[in-house]
Symmetry: C2
Subunit: 151 residues, 2 copies
């Protein structure tokens, strides 16, 4: 809703990605740029298939193989995160400059809502600290249904 989830993003994501690619001797190709652009257009979660469709629908022709390869690069770069609800399909979300969101999966309707749970970060960090670990990230999925009386 507002910017409270953002952590000072000075530079655009494409710059982050480009820098990262350069650092490992890889190239910031037009295909990779288009894929990142299309991802940014998503509000929340997206899937490889939907991304591929969106790209092709808007004339940015990129092959499936390149989409998958780029998703992996983006994940390595810490720009997106893979979320797995089931084994059918991977879901992805933009995480760069944000804390990963908690996902509420409605078991009755199948809807998925992303919410921020600031306390979770503190909880996570404490759990790690107690064990001498440095947190790198987390994923929380909550399965819930409407509290109405119907089963």
């Amino acid at each position: 809703m507002n910017g409270q989830n953002s952590i000072e993003i000075i530079e655009p994501l494409c710059a982050v990605f480009r820098r990262r690619l350069k650092a490992e001797g890889a190239k910031y190709t037009p295909e990779r740029a288009q894929i990142l652009d299309a991802i940014i257009e998503y509000d929340g979660l997206f899937e490889a298939e939907s991304l591929l469709e969106k790209l092709n629908r808007s004339g940015r022709n990129v092959s499936k193989a390149t989409v998958y390869r780029t998703l992996k690069l983006l994940e390595d770069a810490g720009i997106i995160q893979t979320v797995l609800f089931d084994r059918d399909q991977s879901h992805y979300q933009l995480v760069y400059g944000k804390q990963p969101q908690t996902l509420i999966v409605r078991v009755d309707t199948g809807e998925i809502e992303a919410v921020d749970v600031p306390e979770l970060i503190a909880l996570r960090d404490r759990i790690c600290r107690q064990r001498g670990l440095t947190p790198e990230g987390h994923r929380l999925q909550i399965f819930a249904k409407s509290a109405k009386k119907d089963a």
Copy 2:
């Protein structure tokens, strides 16, 4: 470490499973019993393949198809939970009579540790209550590495 995570298990798991199966007109077959037994022998997480191996190694011959079908039944019965770290393989854990455990995935070593985080339940329930939802379950995975100075 101790029993504080248990919620009064009066009856053995097989009884729970049998009752559940009967309720839906299904049978508690020897194969299903053996699969549940083998699952109980695990401390924490297990995978379908490892379970199948263990069954066959100990002479309890069950087919792969039956293992997968039974895992699904056990999940529906609320006895086990599926945990997905990646898309290679599903991991399962016994959850009946416990709160699902938080899993700490060591990104440096690949080790996975299951821990109890009681506060998480309260947090989850509050998040759901605020939205008029009833929690059915959750999954929290924390990715972390050793806090030592090495990358």
